[in-house]
Amino acid sequence: MVVIGKKKYESGEGAQFLSRKAALKKLQLTLKEFRRLCILKGIYPREPRNRKRAQKGQPGIKTLYHKKDVQFLMHEPIIWELRKLKVFTRKVERAKALREFSDMKRYLSNHPTLKLDHIVKERYPTFIDALRDLDDCLTLCFLFSTFPSLNHVPRDQSLLCRRLTVEFLHAVITAKALRKVFVSIKGYYYQAEIKGQTINWIVPHHFGFEPQAKNDVDFKMMSIFVEFYIIMLGFVNFRLYHTLNLYYPPKLTTHDNSEKILVDEETYVSERIAALNVPLINLDSTLQNTEDEEFEMDQFTNESDATKLEEAKIEANKIKKLKTLFKGLKVFLNREVPREPLVFILRCFGAEVSWDKLLFVGASFDENDETITHHIVDRPNMTKQYISRYYVQPQWVFDSVNARELLPVEKYLIGCILPPHLSPFSDNQHDQTYIPPEERALMDPDFRLNDEEDESEEETENENEKEENKTEEEDLEKDLKEEIETNKSDEVNEKEQERDRLKKKMKVKTGEVTKEDPWEKKRQEKQEYRLRERMIKKKHRKLYRSMMEGRKERAKEIWLLRKKRRLHDTAKKQKRKEERKQKKIKVAE
């Protein structure tokens, strides 16, 4: 007998998902190849809404893929390449086993390579899409650029990573796109803004390679990710360079013949580029950098709020200032300072940088150059110091970038205990919280502490007191003189005044602008606000009320703490004053 009706799992969630094993069977690939394909194509496993149904009633948890995703993979031409690769390895193995080394060599020299260009285009249809997904790419590429050749990692991969990341850094330097830096115990956090997209990446601290624990990370899988990201970064670099009006495999402006003899040209150039210290050649020298052109912000935006527009304007101004932050500075890096991050940051904002000639190629001036303005040092003291320059610790550079202005160097001088390095990534929404003035001075460079002013004030106060006494006497004399003069002229004036009054009546006056009473206006606004408050729906009223109460409470707390501080400060000031007085008395005695 035939069962009439639908079978289970032929429609709905049961039909939408495939287990990994089923997907392998459908694609006729091995697990290894399937994994690689999925990573390259950006197909990830899915979590179903109802697992039991999606797994067709099977118990346990299985890795599931969407059926449509698998069908999409089926059309990928790379599958054929993967199959070819399988054949290739079999051939090589066979030749090796038969000890036919010439054949083996021939096969190996004809190694099939996967071409991933179309996948990059497919996954990122526009350049902006690619930029948006650059975080992962950059972090992994920077990480892999520090690795030596390892098992599971293709031999040229780390070298290629190094090349591409340095090229990217160059692009950031010329575009002046860096915005934030943060030095953590994990590594350097950077934030750049390219085409309106914020890109964050982490660069590990420069230390010797530490071998990885084997059971922690799937090395092979990570290297497949990198395999894709390399291609992506290459194309992003190409595009970036061309928008910045630069040659894409980058070219240098200077060619010193003396150094050129030492090494072959390619390594010379690549080392120089890795030094990050020289500007690259422009594609079209008649065109100046397009990025430099100032563009004004649109006055008309759909945001009606004027304050927001104002904020945006201020932000844009700050960024414009940031771009030329270190312009005109000549910085020398001591040898214990991490060279690459500092050169990158300093060059991003227009400084000239150099280092010890023996340390790395590309040094542009020596330590004994008198025009050097800043010397970056990370050791407690130095034997030989020049008077013409500041010896600062590297944190000065990071903090200046985050503060978006050149910070005073006093706190960062050689051997000083540094102020804390704060994170620019944590949004400092210190709305309605009490911040003691010391902390505020750390965060906000514009804010000045009262203490410094106080002392100077106190000194001037004493002087003022003396002056006041003098001026009072002078005032009295002046008043007396004026009174005498006025009495004489009073009688003559009366007649003239009346004529003037009559004249004024006939005069046509210019219209006066009616002044708005600010108090009245405020009252009106307050009333409107109250009316608006009344309009709040009953549903939200309680929430609103509790919100407002909370706000009031917090404001009160801040007020209280401020008052306490003020009282404390005045008490301290009074004490200091008395002490000073007593001292004076003592001196006088």
């Binding site: 990830y44 496993p45 115990i185």
Partner: protein, 304 residues
């Protein structure tokens, strides 16, 4: 020549995102299906790409903003906050461990091996006669007739009267039930307001539940999904104790392994399914040997 033409890794000389002109067809005003149809006929095939490819598998950013306390030279407050968080996590972990210990290991009595042996012997010999004391007249029955525990079933037939009465009772019960329903219908008409209220209450409850479910769903979308049978374990937070902080860049040591951090991040963002990494081969290696009759022994060959 063929080798020269082969694509080389690391050679980028095209702008991938340059607009390509599609042979004189303005596709701006055509519907998607029409575009697909016409393009295939113009020799330009256009694949339909699943929408999921455009979406990110998770809302978690690739590079999460760092905690201010992990600065190499953090402010005191930030550092304390970080340490507090770490301690809180550790305490939770310890609590969970203790709970599991209490619920599993500590729940059972500890038994020494000798005691265990004794218990086993005792258990196994339950119901057996001890060997040393033999009672000859203990259990033996002399009665030859054996009685079953369950008596045999008899098939007793009902009389016709009994059947009729049974039927009448059944009909009556049905009739009564029907009457009750009719009665309820009439009484319900006077209870319309109450019913309305009940329905409204039920609807309200459902609405609240629906909102709750939606909230839960949105929350779940932010987190990590279960993609495989291996549970995702987040990276332990990295931190330095105050004694380890040096305050300058020269003496800072990196704490954690950035590769592991990236790996866990991929797992967290639902890109990679967590899995146990196998280091040893499951399959036995094939042992290679030469068959004895194929082996050539050089000592036995005479070189003349």
């Amino acid at each position: 020549m063929k080798k020269l033409n082969k694509p080389k890794r690391g050679e980028f000389n095209v702008d991938l995102w340059k607009e390509k002109t599609t042979k004189d067809i303005d596709t701006n005003w055509l519907s998607l299906d029409t575009v697909r149809h016409t393009l295939t006929h113009f020799g330009v095939k256009k694949k339909r790409i699943p929408i999921s490819l455009r979406k990110r598998p998770s809302n978690i950013p690739a590079v999460e903003p760092p905690h201010p306390g992990i600065s190499y030279n953090p402010s005191f407050q930030d550092h304390q906050n970080l340490l507090r968080e770490v301690i809180q996590k550790e305490m939770e972990f310890i609590k969970e461990e203790e709970h599991l210990n209490r619920v599993t290991t500590k729940m059972f009595k500890k038994v020494s091996p000798e005691e265990k042996e004794n218990n086993l012997i005792k258990e196994m010999s339950e119901g057996l006669k001890p060997e040393n004391d033999q009672d000859p007249d203990g259990d033996e029955d002399d009665d030859p007739t054996v009685k079953s525990v369950n008596p045999p079933v008899k098939n007793q037939k009902k009389t016709r009267v009994q059947r009729r009465k049974q039927k009448e009772q059944k009909d009556l019960a049905y009739k009564r039930q029907q009457e009750k329903i009719e009665k309820k219908k009439i009484s319900d008409m006077y209870k319309l307001k109450l019913l309305d209220r009940q329905l409204a209450a039920k609807e309200k409850k459902q609405k609240i539940l629906r909102q709750k479910r939606l909230k839960k769903k949105t929350l779940k979308a932010l987190g990590t999904k279960t993609l495989s049978k291996v549970k995702f374990e987040p990276l332990e937070p990295n931190f330095k104790l105050s004694s380890e902080l040096t305050g300058n860049l020269r003496n800072t040591e990196p704490t954690n392994n950035l590769l592991k951090d990236r790996f866990k991040s991929l797992q967290k963002r639902n890109i990679v399914a967590p899995a146990n990494i196998r280091l040893k081969r499951d399959k036995a290696r094939v042992k290679r040997f030469i068959k004895p009759d194929h082996r050539i022994d050089m000592t036995k060959i005479d070189m003349k």
